[in-house]
């Protein structure tokens, strides 16, 4: 069976997962373990006047209660935001303090005010309810559009609750383009706030060993090395060699587990304070809703300028981006360098100018969530392009075609250099698969059934594997964005690959093994992928932004190059041939023009017994390390076409057809890629139709705090997807890969909303476009007509 690149290999990890043998953080129990429960703020904004403990009885099982004062006593640093953004006027962003337990003030409902540690989870929870916190309620604001004019002053350092006022692009050139315009399309958009919903809630176990003065943290992280670095360097808990971070099996992240959160730092810090007993915390689902970093939450005004033939002359926009009450780990880069840099879409737009104001609100912190900035950019570009086409009465497919970037490399006015792509190819294929020509007939047939049928496009582009490190550094990143790999060949020829990427659903144990199987011609089952433990893998940047293929696998590929090179040398010595005569194919080394041959495993053994080569020239063993820093981003792109039918009586929308044609460059495992596309589109459909985080403006309370009100998309909400692929190789990495993890979530909201506005014959429609929203829109249109 082929298990190499391009094979539909079944996921190796699934046996463990579906038989209940996964080892998630909450499955791990350490000796003498205690349990933490957090006292959370019931107020959106309040001073903390006092925190009093009752007299605990022995049966309460309370081990300790800690507050921000204890954190200050131990000089434990606050949570950081790792990407510096400067405002237009050159001033640095205004980051307020974010202590791991609140000091003086709570700034959103769910803010971590104190922690109770007890013998059992139930005791910790019961005791937390008895900790008496006196609050002084302050004015609050939850709506990003109102925050700069609100009475609420969330952080002293940020007057008007403004973190930064940033811009990108050439303002004068853009204004000039608008002066010349034949037609200008204007659009107001809200990118609705989303709550990530990984199946596994966040969890942590912190433990301190006084014998070796060493800490261990098990945590639900997408990037354990970054967590260790931050906890060591910024929280100042312990030097890196005294802190081990393990992210075992992790049940989904979608971005929400990139960040370093207060709870995990508290567990590992407090373990020392209670004499080294381990402390476990597992979020309840309600806590996930309240205190995981949320996504999106943009309010935008955008304008697009065209000449008389529908060629785009310029784009400008002003976006208010809610940061929530604190700057989370990468919050500042999401609405800036991951957003405005993609505003050229697939189009050759001569001038772009984007202004982004980042604003504090009394809500959970907002940070990267599947797509992070790129869904917001695609939503803006694809909604306004579709609207412009309609206003100018040009077929939306034709309008796009007229504006496509067709030559590469293409420098956009907003930093990015697109390296390769064929946007017309994916559009053409999508038009065929979706039977675009047949749409008018389908619309007429639906009308006979009393249904409003609409069609919508999303020709998205996104950027994955953000890099090179020097470039992201110059844009403000506090880290480099390379990846590491170590390939260890064992004497019998089996292989362990240690990677800095982290799998939390992506299937790395399969796809990474496929790469090794392909390159070394070995059985996929003789390859193990090791990840998620700072004691095993030396360093790595983790998994997010669809980077594990393009960056993580490229690092493995580089290490495999080195393994192969050394193995050739050894094979040459053993077979007494010149190195230049050694050929390596299908897992075996042979000497050109002879029948001499050695299997890969035989060479591995020869490397370790070291009898047949001069160890003064070639070191024994077969183990190689590589660090790979990409030379550019990668640019996955594609065309999604959505068709909806709306029941005009009830407002219920059904997605009746979905075509997705994606260009991800090289595809390692089509089955896994299709799964990523399905999941991504479903998440995007969730944003468009069902999901919306609601804070009550009066009380500041989270109204969508459970599945009773927060509506995740279900299997019945999505159609059977029709997928197609086009392929242009990514020129900047050795495998030609671009990344596929977020594309669906990036493309889908615009496709759905374009289809719905088409069906309803309206310009504006808010997400989530629930039946109620659609019905209100229908009522308003009816009244306007009457």
């Amino acid at each position: 069976m082929d298990t190499g690149i391009g094979a539909r290999v079944k996921r190796k990890e699934d046996h463990r997962f579906i038989t209940g043998k996964g080892q998630y953080t909450d499955d791990i129990n350490l000796k003498d373990q205690t349990y933490a429960y957090f006292v959370r703020s019931p107020h959106a904004h309040a001073t903390i006047k006092s925190i009093k403990e009752p007299e605990w009885a022995p049966e309460d099982g309370v081990v300790a209660v800690f507050t921000g004062e204890h954190v200050a006593e131990d000089k434990i640093g606050g949570l950081i935001c790792g990407w510096m953004i400067h405002s237009k006027d050159g001033s640095p962003m205004k980051a307020g303090p974010h202590p791991i337990l609140a000091q003086g003030k709570a700034r959103y409902v769910g803010d971590h005010v104190a922690v109770v540690i007890a013998e059992t989870k139930e005791q910790a929870k019961a005791a937390a309810a008895r900790v008496d916190v006196t609050y002084g309620v302050l004015p609050h604001v939850v709506d990003v559009a109102k925050a700069t004019k609100s009475k609420a002053q969330i952080h002293d350092v940020a007057p008007d609750n403004t973190v930064f006022e940033w811009s990108l692009g050439d303002k004068a050139a853009t204004e000039a383009a608008f002066q010349r315009a034949h037609h200008v399309t204007k659009l107001d958009l809200v990118n609705n706030r989303l709550i990530p919903n990984a199946m596994e809630p966040r969890a942590a176990i912190g433990s301190y060993d006084s014998g070796s003065d060493h800490y261990t943290l098990y945590t639900t992280s997408q990037n354990p090395h970054v967590a260790r670095l931050v906890i060591s360097a910024f929280h100042g808990l312990a030097p890196e060699h005294k802190l081990r971070v393990i992210a075992p099996d992790v049940g989904g992240g979608f971005g929400s587990k990139i960040f370093i959160y207060a709870e995990e730092v508290v567990c590992v810090w407090a373990s020392k304070r209670i004499g080294g007993r381990p402390i476990k915390w597992t979020a309840e689902r309600t806590e996930s809703f309240l205190a995981d970093a949320h996504g999106r939450d943009h309010v935008t005004h955008a304008e697009l300028a065209m000449d008389k033939d529908g060629h785009i002359l310029g784009l400008k926009c002003h976006t208010l981006a809610s940061m929530g009450a604190y700057l989370s780990t990468f919050a500042s880069c999401v609405p800036t360098y991951l957003y405005a840099t993609l505003l050229s879409g697939q189009y050759a737009i001569p001038a772009i100018y984007a202004e982004v104001d980042a604003i504090y609100t009394n809500t959970a912190p907002v940070d990267a969530y599947r797509g992070a900035g790129r869904p917001e950019a695609t939503y803006l570009v694809e909604r306004i392009v579709e609207t412009a086409a309609r206003e100018m009465k040009i077929d939306p497919a034709e309008f796009r075609r007229r504006n496509f970037v067709t030559t590469f490399p293409h420098q956009t006015p907003v930093i990015m250099t697109y390296d390769a792509g064929d946007y017309d190819a994916s559009l053409k294929k999508a038009l065929e698969i979706s039977d675009y020509k047949g749409f008018p007939a389908r619309k007429a047939a639906a009308a006979k059934q009393g249904k409003l049928r609409g069609i919508g496009f999303a020709n998205y582009i996104e950027a994955c594997g953000i890099a090179p490190s020097a470039a992201v550094g110059s844009l403000g990143a506090g880290v480099g964005l390379w990846e590491s790999a170590e390939v260890r060949v064992n004497p019998v020829g089996t292989i362990e690959v240690l990677t800095g990427s982290h799998s939390h659903g992506q299937g790395h144990e399969t796809t990474f093994a496929q790469l090794v199987s392909d390159r070394l011609g070995v059985d996929i089952n003789s390859v193990a992928i090791v990840h998620g433990d700072t004691d095993k893998v030396q360093f790595g940047m983790g998994t997010y932004g669809s980077r594990s293929g393009a960056v993580g696998m490229s690092a493995i590929s580089k290490a495999l190059d080195k393994v192969e090179a050394k193995a050739r040398k050894i094979a040459a010595h053993v077979m007494e041939a010149a190195e230049g005569d050694i050929e390596f194919k299908n897992g075996s080394f042979s000497v050109k023009g002879t029948d001499k041959k050695m299997a890969f495993g035989e060479v591995a053994l020869a490397a370790y017994v070291a009898h047949k080569f001069p160890t003064s020239e070639i070191e024994p063993g077969l183990k190689e390390t590589a660090f790979y820093d990409p030379s550019n981003f990668t640019f996955p792109a594609g065309c999604h076409i959505c068709e909806v039918e709306i029941d005009s009586e009830t407002g219920v929308t059904e997605i009746v057809s979905w075509t997705a044609v994606d260009d991800f460059g090289t595809v390692i495992n089509p089955m896994i890629v299709e799964g990523q596309v399905h999941g991504g589109i479903t998440q995007g459909i969730g944003q468009a139709l069902t999901e919306g985080c609601v804070y009550d403006s009066e009380s500041g309370q989270l109204l969508t705090g459970s599945y009773m009100d927060y509506c995740m998309p279900r299997a019945t909400d999505v159609p059977s997807f029709k997928l197609g692929f086009t392929e242009t190789k990514c020129p900047s990495n050795p495998l030609g890969m671009k990344g596929c993890g977020e594309a669906g979530a990036i493309a889908a909201p615009a496709a759905v909303m374009n289809a719905m506005t088409d069906a309803l014959g309206v310009k504006d429609l808010a997400m989530p476009a629930s039946p109620h929203t659609v019905w209100k829109t229908l009522q308003a249109t009816k009244m306007a007509a009457e």
């Binding site: 009586e649 069902t690 599945y707 009773m708 009100d709 039946p771 209100k776």
Partner: protein
């Protein structure tokens, strides 16, 4: 969840007595509603009296009457051949409650005793003119649901069965809340054997209610068109982030028409 004393009586009289003796007791059936409220600390009863030990589950289908014992889970009502034949609307309603887990634990007794304004069964009890049989008496469906989360039951009274008269034709149409899948609006329309028509609405108001104007119109002409112009008043209907009172009022008419068209 707080500690409580657990009882599992095997006779209804013992259950009633256990309740009388308890400081703050609660009957337990499927636990699909009660246990989550206890876990969230919204209820902390001193005693739990588990009715599962009574063995009071099953369906009896007669020529004029379908009797569903209080402990019957939704899934068993949904798949019962006799119910499907006699009152397909009732089987379909039960089959549309929650998800498979909930349908295999939740019971009709627990559902109507709880009287969630968004529950489905109250529409069947009122719409089909059922009688609720308790450990003490029989209560007509119309008198059973008194207010939001409140019924005619006394604290120590147990629902033992619900008796549904077999109608001439009926249908239940539900508009699920997008998130919870409880009824945002659910309408049961039934033409009873005596020729009278009932239109019972759940989910839209604080408790199940009938729409007499529609009933009268349908008694004269049992067709969807007969009620197309009849609107219920929005005032007093439920309002939340998922639906305004106006939208709910609108849906009542749409769903009632669809139920009439589907009635069998």
């Amino acid at each position: 969840m707080e500690n409580f004393i657990y009882h599992r009586p095997t006779k209804p009289a013992d259950a009633v007595k256990a309740m009388k003796d308890a400081a703050d007791g609660k009957f337990l059936s499927g636990g699909m509603t009660l246990l989550p409220t206890m876990k969230q600390g919204l209820a902390s009863p001193s005693d739990i009296i588990d009715l599962g030990g009574l063995g009071n589950s099953g369906v009896e289908v007669g020529a004029d009457k379908v009797t569903v014992k209080a402990g019957t889970v939704h899934a068993n009502v949904a798949i019962d051949k006799g119910v499907k034949k006699a009152i397909p609307a009732l089987a379909a309603l039960a089959g549309g409650i929650g998800d498979p887990h909930v349908r295999n634990r939740g019971t009709i007794g627990g559902s109507i005793a709880n009287n969630d304004p968004a529950a489905d069964y109250p529409a069947a009890v009122v719409g089909l003119n059922a009688t609720v049989v308790t450990s003490a008496r029989s209560v007509p469906g119309d008198k059973f649901f008194t207010d939001i989360f409140t019924t005619a039951l006394k604290d120590d009274e147990i629902v033992t069965a619900v008796e549904f008269p077999v109608p001439k034709r009926a249908a239940y149409v539900k508009f699920p809340n997008p998130a919870s899948r409880y009824a945002m609006v659910g309408v049961m329309v039934a033409e009873l054997k005596d020729g009278s028509v009932r239109v019972a609405v759940t989910g839209a108001g604080p408790k199940v209610f009938r729409v007499p104007e529609m009933e009268k119109a349908l008694e004269a002409n049992f067709s969807a068109d007969a009620i197309g112009g009849i609107k219920v008043k929005a005032s007093g209907l439920n309002s939340d982030m998922h639906a305004s009172p106006e939208y709910r009022a609108h849906l009542v008419t749409v769903l009632a028409r669809r139920a009439v068209a589907a009635a069998k």
